[in-house]
Amino acid sequence: MQIKNILVATLIGFIFWVLLNNTLDPLILAIGAGLALILALLFCARCNVFSELKVTPAAFGYTFLYLGVFLVELVKSNLDVASRVITPSLPINPGIVEVKTHLKSRMGRMILANSITLTPGTLTIDIHEDTLYIHWIDVQTEDKQGATEKIVRKFEKYLEKIYG
């Protein structure tokens, strides 16, 4: 478990380094690998952020599927908010609702909250255990189940496959 954690952190740092340098010179790659390993050992040895990540072929597939769904939602709901903004009468009826999530891992919940925040119309205000408090620009239902069905479900079914 610990080893997977460090390996994933090292891999993320290494990919970041390669993208930043934009070259495949072996010396630079070696320096980047060493630095990423050292930093992962220093900072990620005790925090178990990545240990719930599932490394299976299905998880990779779902990651790409999730990215596609996320981008489509991002553009679609941005257009929605933009149309609200330029309408002269400003048709909003905001409110703060609560929703539930099934995700257990911290990383999964963070990605879920960030996705909810980035798709406009909804904004995560706080998170307690498995309850998320969400500011919704156009409240359609006030009860917990209906809001969960409308906001969380479309992301959660992919994130469940990637994170535990």
Binding site: L42, F43, R106, R109, M110
Partner: protein
């Protein structure tokens, strides 16, 4: 009222002086001699693609040494001045807990910020950046750690050790330059290498690494001292 008029008079005097000085500045058409020398001879003499880096590290190296000294003095005065009593039991800080999202995000982002700081000062002689900017970025990574976990204790001994070692190595490299090459902080005692690659410009990358670690440690010391200072110590 009278005081305001007096202030306005002072400001007007300064304004007249400064705009007169503006009239003295020359036309912005071509470089002066010193800058032309740096631009023409710099790539052969120093070998750094970033001419600002070559000016800072070698041509004006003594200025940089003085600057690092000033920063060290400021950091140690702040540390001495705001020193909190660490031995006796102090009351736990009354802060609002961080949200879980920020904690998790900070755990992911902090190593990346540190890596980016290291990238900035390793590539200081090729791209914009260098020791000072990299050190500032490293210190801001430490700030992110403190923000995500406000009650965390920073180990000051590690900061002090890193700062001393890198400061000592910086001076040592300067003396190497004095002994093996033309003068103090001359970078030519290592081979200049191919222009525009990572291992070029002699000792400039090494000097920038040490400056970066030293500045990062000093700024981290300032920030953590300001964060954990207590009310009374005298």
């Amino acid at each position: 009222m009278l005081k305001k008029i007096f202030f306005l008079l002072v400001l007007a005097g300064f304004a007249v002086m400064l705009f007169n000085a503006y009239g003295l500045s020359g036309p912005d058409q071509q470089l002066n001699d010193v800058a032309a020398h740096y631009a023409e001879k710099g790539p052969q003499e120093v070998g750094a693609a970033n001419l600002v880096a070559s000016v800072i590290v070698t041509y004006r190296g003594l200025d940089t040494l003085g600057e690092v000294t000033i920063l060290f003095l400021a950091a140690s005065i702040i540390g001495f001045f705001l020193k909190a009593r660490r031995d006796n039991q102090r009351a736990p800080k009354q802060v609002r807990k961080t949200s879980e999202i920020l904690e998790t995000a900070a755990k992911v982002i902090t190593p990346v910020i540190f890596l980016f700081g290291i990238y900035v000062f390793i590539n200081g002689h090729l791209t914009p950046g260098g020791g000072f900017q990299g050190g500032a970025i490293i210190a801001s990574g430490l700030v992110l750690m403190l923000l995500a976990n406000p009650v965390k204790k920073i180990n000051h001994n590690i900061i002090r050790v890193i700062e001393s070692i890198s400061g000592f190595s910086f001076i040592l490299l300067g003396i190497f330059g004095l002994l093996l090459a033309g003068g103090f902080l001359d970078n030519a005692f290592l081979p200049l290498g191919d222009f525009g690659t990572l291992l070029s410009a002699g000792a400039v990358p090494l000097i920038y690494i040490f400056i970066g670690l030293k500045v990062g440690a000093e700024l981290s010391g300032i920030v953590s001292n300001l964060q954990e200072t207590q009310k009374e110590q005298i």
